[in-house]
Subunit: 378 residues, 2 copies
């Protein structure tokens, strides 16, 4: 384990500024960000001062202790006991905290409130721990995590290249009669063989009218000549996520397909031209709207053209999840996709082309270029 | 789509008994259970009376309407708007509900509070909808879902057979130098080619001391001669989950390995002999404890020998998540694993053998038998 004590120190400084007594880590992404590795049930506690603390099952203790020479490991013997042990430890930390941090006798504790934090766990935590107030850890973690270090960019670039290998395999197999399941199977295999540990979402493969789905699952019927095929691949490397979506047409596109594709490519080009520090997703959506409207597709636009990406598949700005993120200005060093939302004519079909970019001082830097040629000879 | 109106009717009857005005479905498993299909962002609402309601993005509307001749589809144009539209619809339903169902002016709405329901979504829902009280849907859904119909058992059996094919592939590849990542890649490919849509958990492959992990992720170092290898496979077919865990030793096991393996096989045999309607996980754990103690491993036992399984990987009884489930009596027709918890000597290694059973009137019926032979010739 390669504990990132520098990141721990930054978090502790930010917590002290806000008067939080601790951060409870139950999620893979924060755990990996802080401890340089992952485990199936990540459990850690960052007090406002002092060394970070890991919580392990008793059987795991020796292995964890051996891999963590410099840290401190607290050990609990049962699954059901962990939350109670966290509560006990929080009481000790609270006793050492400045009294003025408490509001109405309750100290604040940060917790990631994202998809991986289930509602029942937070409820349970609140029940057994009425002495603390659980707050979203976003204000402390987001500023730190959204700016990617070179080593993080390298892993994300590798993941994005692997997505390209998966897409290559899909392209090879696109022919009449191929099923979405076959494509997902082969793409997954190609990406795992190239080093992906998994994908951060299901593999999405949609044909024909089902390309209208915002994120469709696997289409049930085989691909037919002339249909749109929309593929979205999200391999992960060391927890870092990639996101590559492409739309293909098997054979010659008809006029509407060609117009949708041309429009989307223009949307991407316009958004890339505007993607500089300070721009917001709302701003990019506005630009996309102008392009859509000029092609007569204004009514079909879905907002949320891009999203942040990193150790989580969606990071700030994640405007389709948290509407306020629409107005979050991009900053240099963020990694953001363009092409998240489908442009679809209901009942007909939809297209999108999504890639990941680093926000550079003077414009976007694509992590790994991949062709956008949509036509696959039948 | 094959809407299960019979299940909808059962849910509505149970809701009316409890005075709930609606069930909000945001999870894949309930969605599939009710609508016979899945979508990436499942959104449905079951009012206490009248037809079920699906919520779609505008681009998805025609496809959804075409596939759902008998139902009612409500359509919303943006992602951020869905929750507000659910709130609006709940108000209409509340207006038609018996006033005496409201406690302090608030009507109850059921929501699945499991891993897939994120805390922030429930918070948001409560914020925008102070007029309803969100309650866990478990009391309504669990009795219905835990007893499996023949068609459900057929899918689970197919998934369990596919897990066996993945395990066959792992066995073929077990040799000095193979990596956990290679095994996960090949097992995933074998299972997807055989029809698995995905796995419900990561593929777990652990070697040597890392077999101590409750559910270890992929071990980083290649397999060595004489090491324990623990593999846990969880393919899904039409959403139904399988769970097959096996422990192997590459070459001749040493005395402690052999003793751990013999103990676990005895635990499984004893638990199977006791697995009848009425027994609880606590009861099975008690039996396992006797076996562990007789081999001198009493201190290493972890409670929670089995768990329910179905459209969710862990269903009631899920005692390692919800401690009260330890005392839930098994009923005929439930599907339950035996072999969930590892028996591990910290710093040395652990073993387990897990399969899925239907609880029959006179004992367990294994869904798909798979060899338990642990030794792989080196």
């Amino acid at each position: 384990m390669n504990v990132r004590f520098d990141r721990v120190a930054s978090i502790q400084a930010a917590m002290r500024e806000r008067g939080w007594i601790a951060l409870v880590v139950l999620n893979h992404d924060d755990y990996r960000y802080l401890f340089g590795t992952d485990r199936t049930q990540p459990r850690a506690l960052i007090p406002f001062q002092g060394p970070p603390e890991l919580i392990a099952f008793s059987g795991e203790e020796p292995e964890l202790r051996a891999s963590l020479a410099e840290g401190k490991v607290r050990v609990f013997g049962s699954v059901g006991g962990q939350i109670h042990d966290i509560v006990g430890r929080l009481r000790e930390i609270a006793a050492a905290a400045p009294a003025e941090w408490a509001a109405e006798g309750r100290f604040k504790v940060g917790l990631q409130m994202w998809f991986a934090t289930p509602a029942f766990l937070v409820d349970l935590f609140k029940q057994v721990n009425p002495e603390v107030e659980v707050v979203s850890s976003d204000p402390v973690m987001d500023p730190l995590r959204s700016i990617k270090e070179p080593a993080e960019l390298a892993l994300m670039t590798q993941a994005q290249r692997i997505a390209g290998l998966g897409m290559d395999r899909v392209r090879e197999l696109l022919r009449p009669g191929v099923t979405a399941h076959d494509l997902a199977t082969e793409a997954t295999y190609a990406m795992m063989r190239a080093g992906a540990e998994s994908t951060s979402t299901p593999v999405y493969v949609n044909f024909g009218v089902e390309t209208c789905m915002l994120h469709g699952r696997l289409s049930p019927k085989p691909l037919e000549l002339g249909q749109l095929a929309l593929i979205d691949l999200t391999p992960q490397v060391d927890g870092y996520c990639a996101n590559l979506a492409r739309t293909f047409v098997l054979g010659e596109p008809d006029a509407r397909q060609a117009e949708l594709i041309a429009t989307y490519r223009e949307i991407v080009a316009s958004a890339r031209a505007a993607m500089k520090p300070g721009v917001t997703v709302a701003g990019l959506d506005g630009i996309a709207h102008g392009v859509c409207a000029s092609h007569g597709f204004g009514e079909y636009q879905v907002y949320g053209l891009g999203h942040g990406i990193g150790l989580r598949f969606e990071e700030p700005p994640a405007s389709t999840i948290i509407p306020q993120h629409r107005n979050l200005p991009l900053a240099e060093g963020m990694t953001v996709t363009i092409g998240h939302t489908v442009l679809a004519i209901p009942g007909f079909g939809g297209v999108r082309f999504e890639d990941v970019y680093r926000v550079g001082a003077s414009g976007p830097e694509i992590l790994s270029d991949y062709p956008t040629e949509p036509i696959v000879p039948a």
